[in-house]
Symmetry: C2
Subunit: 156 residues, 2 copies
DNA sequence: TTGAATAGACAATGTGGTTGTCTATCACGC
DNA sequence: GCGTGATAGACAACCACATTGTCTATTCAA
């Protein structure tokens, strides 16, 4: 009750930001200074076997145009390569490069470090409680369009 | 620890999103369908006594140009009015309209409802623990440039 | 073979951010 | 009283994210 309700909602964003910032500080040290928060999520969505632009859009919960742009940026950054799809000359298979796998590995480790830091800071029991509480509270939205979600008006 | 570390960080964003979405669904019902998440924060930054564009930018942690854009949007939406500053003919005083105060009141109530829902869902003790844990974990960044923060590469 | 559905590119727009440039005003020092 | 520097804000250009709409090429089915 000490915290006003709006502060609590803001704390969620603050904690998220803190975690992501910490992660990216570590990623920058590991040779991925240009990695942006959405890169990791997108690469994870591409998967080890690769996927097409449309699939990427569906997995991220965004339009295929947005997915195409994201893929283009990832390709330019050296994280994705394009291959033709054998059976379908329209489609393009997006494939993670070794550099992308390196980023993902570093990202996974970085997330682990963040979680460990929090666990150490809170104590294991309180940390587990936190995770459990968040699991109950959090919606299961796509999370792919976080930036746009903040700006877009709710209706339309 | 059943949850992988990256999931936990995502849960924070998911919970934040859930809270804001719930809030704005309620705001839409209360006559503010066009309110966007950043509106409330900006109006709160303007304050009851009003402020100038530069002050708004400083309070939100963004450039004055960004603040000017935000203020323009808020003005167009009927939430802000511009008044001359008596002593300084360069400056413009941004003032909240009655409609803005209505939005803020509805927003405060909405946040309260969100918190109450969570409190009911988790139980008071677990909810308080959650808030406490978040307080320790969350950084104290500006929070004003959340959308840009996701996309902008770290410094450079 | 003809026509609908699909993959993806391309353009325009909206919202957020940034930096850089410009004018008008203020404040200070000579 | 006038020049100089700082400040408030506007304006333009640009980037990153999203959207919808339109277009071509390819696939697949009737």
């Amino acid at each position: 009750m000490s915290e006003p309700a709006w502060r609590v909602v803001l704390l969620l964003a603050g904690a998220f930001r803190e975690g992501v910032d910490t992660l990216h500080a570590e990623l920058a040290e590991q040779g991925h200074p240009e990695a942006r928060p959405l890169h990791g999520f997108a690469l994870q969505a591409v998967g080890a076997r690769g996927c097409t632009i449309n699939e990427l859009g569906q997995r991220l919960g965004v339009s295929k145009q947005a997915a195409a742009k994201t893929a283009a940026g990832l390709e330019k950054a050296g994280y994705l390569a394009r291959e033709p799809v054998p059976g379908d000359r329209r489609a393009v298979l997006l494939r993670r490069t070794p550099r992308a796998d390196d980023l993902l590995a570093a990202s996974e480790a970085g997330f682990e470090h963040v979680a460990q830091r929090w666990r150490r800071e809170l104590g294991a029991a309180r940390y587990d409680d936190l995770v459990d509480a968040l699991t109950r509270i959090a919606g299961d939205g796509p999370l792919g369009d976080l930036p746009g979600w903040l700006t877009q008006r709710p209706s339309s």
